[in-house]
């Protein structure tokens, strides 16, 4: 058998594993690896401008393809710069393999140049991590890393590789480890049939049922099964921020997102339902609000692959541990075999009530002739892109408006940082999406605060000709912070105003892209059309928006789903 060095093994392994892109940035500890990258042309290495950008790009790539994103960074500052992106992926359960260089094994622990305890620093924000101490362990460890990252509840895995493990003169035989088994790690592959039957009985006995589904449906590629079950039963369904697109956003059974900035109808239905069917969702505090006030009348079914997600904060009546897709397919088969059907009269009355809540039209906003309303920009974006774009986002008000005003009909179209809420995510994630789908329309809805956190990746976009469209909802405020200060701190706007902003259009042009500034509502649609017609150019659209606009509805912390704060337009409205 031919003998390979550690660096060669790594490259050959990634190729054998079917990896296409590596997002990375070189440095001393990974130079042997970079030398091998240079000698081949199968793996495409994408040179980013900051390691945080590399992690978000790999993350965006993973979210739209379902394949693990792969990152390569050097030791020390390379590794620490990657931590924010690793934690971001961890919170949203995104499969990623992050290879970090490390100082040579004999220097570990000596405060060597660019040494950090990478395994120690990343331990709390990875699904698992490894330090490879010997080249003979490299291939098997890499295989474990990919297996752990992509199976069960996915997540990021870090593999820390000391420089001497990849050195060119130490050569061993290599064979691709096609199989892997770990006695201490065996994710569940099927749900318990008895529990599924019990759940179905409860679901069919409901008078006021409600589906509450999350990111787990998307991660498991289980949208089809979810759609089938929901339609067979005719029940209302809400999605979390992470679950948008798993069920078509324009379907009549869909009542919008739930939670802190969820719709009136979704949150009211949560409050009054008698059976809640939670699927691949983790009862996050932005969804639950006050635990004591959560779904006071409901019996709860919870399907999740991670037992620790079940009953973490809210008590569950019928837990089912297993992958969403297989559990739902089992449930559909049982439903079709039996002759029990939902209570049609009760369901009709329930829908009548929900439609009353719907008539509140809770997302309605005031039109203005001279100030651009951010919601209007997103609505127009939806129209101009035919509702079929990949949309990434940053964190803040703009993120919520994107979620509320751009209904997604397909899974893996909406890419945002929900769990960690990482400003700076949107642009690099959009680039990762564009790498995965070179011909697709990709838009990044961002704010002037968030975009500058990873603005350097405009340079990466130029190098690789990535024609994403950046929709900057520029309100000159850290808007989400300002909104909380308005509601909770008597409008004391402590450090939420952004002074000395750049001229974004010119800034973008200096990177070699197209920049546009839009100040009038009447120009919004034209600008969007013009930008999206430029198929092969990155366009930065700087929309100067109304700085006073707030995100409604809002469920303040400590409140229940029936205690939302509504916009002035809705407050005094009578329900139809």
């Amino acid at each position: 058998m031919e003998k390979l060095s550690g660096a060669e093994i790594l490259i050959q392994f990634l190729k054998d594993e079917g990896v296409e892109y590596i997002f990375g940035y070189p440095g001393g500890a990974v130079l042997h690896i970079y030398d091998e990258l240079y000698k081949q042309n199968y793996l495409k290495h994408i040179l980013v401008r900051h390691e945080q950008g590399a992690t978000h790009m790999a993350d965006g790539y993973a979210r739209v393809t379902g394949k693990p994103g792969v990152v390569l960074v050097t030791s020390g500052p390379g590794a620490t710069n990657a931590v924010t992106g690793i934690a971001t992926a961890h919170m949203d359960s995104i499969p990623m393999v992050v290879i970090t260089g490390q100082v040579p094994t004999n220097a570990i622990g000596s405060d060597a140049f660019q040494e950090v305890d990478c395994v120690g620093i990343t331990r709390p924000c990875v699904k698992h991590n490894f330090l490879v101490k010997d080249v003979t362990e490299l291939a098997a460890t890499m295989k474990k890393a990919f297996f752990v990252a992509t199976s069960g509840r996915p997540g990021p895995v870090v593999v820390d590789i000391p420089k001497d493990v990849t050195r060119p003169d130490l050569r061993i035989p290599y064979q691709y480890p096609a199989k892997v088994s770990m006695r201490s790690y065996n994710p569940v592959t099927r749900g318990h049939a008895g529990q599924i039957r019990k759940a179905l009985d409860l679901i069919l006995s409901a008078k006021r049922p409600m589906f509450y589904t999350g990111g787990g449906v998307i991660l498991d590629n289980a949208s089809e099964a979810l759609r089938e079950l929901t339609r067979l039963l005719g029940y209302p369904i809400t999605n979390t921020l992470m679950g948008l697109g798993a069920y078509p956003g324009t379907d009549k059974q869909f009542v919008g997102m739930l939670g802190m900035h969820g719709t009136y109808e979704a949150n009211m239905a949560m409050h009054e339902c008698d059976v809640l069917i939670a699927i691949g969702a983790r009862f996050d505090d932005r969804v639950v609000g006050d635990v004591k006030k959560f779904c006071p009348e409901a019996k709860i079914v919870h399907i999740d692959i991670d037992p620790s997600s079940i009953a973490k904060t809210v008590k569950v009546h019928v837990p089912i541990v297993g992958p969403v897709g297989s559990v739902l397919r089992d449930m559909i088969a049982m439903l079709k075999e039996g002759d029990r059907r939902p209570d049609a009269d009760a369901l009709e009355a329930w829908w009548k009530r929900i439609n009353e809540w719907r008539s509140m039209d809770c997302l309605k906003y005031e039109w203005s002739d001279d100030r651009i309303k951010p919601q209007y920009v997103v609505e127009k974006l939806y129209q101009v892109t035919g509702g079929d774009a990949y949309v990434t986002s940053d964190v803040g008000q703009h993120q919520m408006w994107a979620a509320q005003f751009y209904p997604f009909d397909k899974p893996r179209r909406w890419v945002n940082s929900g769990g960690l809420g990482t400003m700076g995510f949107g642009l690099p994630a959009a680039l990762g999406v564009q790498f995965a789908h070179p011909d697709a329309t990709v838009a990044c809805v961002t704010g002037e605060g968030s975009i500058v956190m990873c603005i350097q990746e405009l340079s990466t976009a130029k190098q690789y000709d990535l024609p994403v469209k950046i929709i900057n909802l520029n309100n000159r405020y850290l808007g989400m912070v300002r909104q909380w200060q308005e509601f909770m701190y008597e409008k004391r706007e402590s450090h939420s105003y952004l002074d000395s902003l750049p001229d974004f259009a010119r800034l973008t042009e200096s990177f070699g892209h197209v920049g546009m500034t839009i100040e009038k509502p009447s120009d919004v649609e034209g600008a969007l059309k013009e930008a999206f017609a430029l198929k092969d150019r990155l366009v930065f659209l700087d929309f100067i928006t109304d700085p006073t606009e707030n995100v409604f509805p809002m469920m303040m912390s400590g409140r229940g789903h029936n205690e939302m704060l509504l916009s002035e337009l809705c407050k005094n409205r009578e329900l139809a």
């Binding site: 120690g120 331990r123 709390p124 698992h128 201490s184 790690y185 037992p307 620790s308 973490k312």
Partner: protein, 163 residues
């Protein structure tokens, strides 16, 4: 309530940190933790004593099970089990104190391991509350050092926690 959780851990560097880190990151109590290799060199056995409501204990066991390095886990408190801890205690022992301490040690079935003109080292084994009671019975000013192993525990009967 107090729970004794037994774990078989992969004998990997860092496995112990993952368990300890989990407890600090999630704010769970650790009363004691002891870990050592077993007859199988690839695994370590850990005995962990913690406390919390039923809901917290449920999360603790789920979170521990989720760690990739945890091979097996058993909450011993759910069944009947034997629970022992060892203590080495160094005491000032001069003059009339010497007899008194020796007597107390005998009552608790302690063994004197080391004797000097002015001190004793006593070894004591038993359930944690027995060791507490011994310390309680001593004159506080005579205690020089207390070294405790933390609880070791194993379930009764033939049923075992093994690979």
């Amino acid at each position: 309530m107090r729970h004794i959780i037994s774990l078989l851990l992969e004998n990997e560097p860092g496995a112990l940190c993952r368990v300890a880190g989990l407890f600090s990151a999630r704010g769970y109590n650790i009363e004691s933790l002891s870990v050592a290799p077993t007859e199988d060199p690839t695994v370590s056995r850990m005995t962990l004593v913690t406390s919390g409501s039923d809901a917290i204990i449920e999360q603790i066991t789920k979170q521990l099970n989720k760690l990739v390095d945890v091979v097996r886990l058993l909450d011993l408190t759910e069944g009947s089990h034997v629970d022992r801890e060892m203590m080495l205690i160094k005491l000032k022992a001069a003059g009339p104190q010497r007899e008194e301490i020796k007597r107390l040690s005998d009552i608790f079935r302690g063994r004197v391991l080391d004797v000097t003109n002015t001190s004793y080292i006593i070894e004591l084994t038993g359930a944690a509350d027995k060791l507490d009671a011994f310390i309680e019975a001593l004159d506080k000013t005579s205690i020089l050092e207390v070294v405790r192993s933390g609880s070791l525990a194993v379930g009764r009967g033939e049923k075992s926690l093994r690979l």
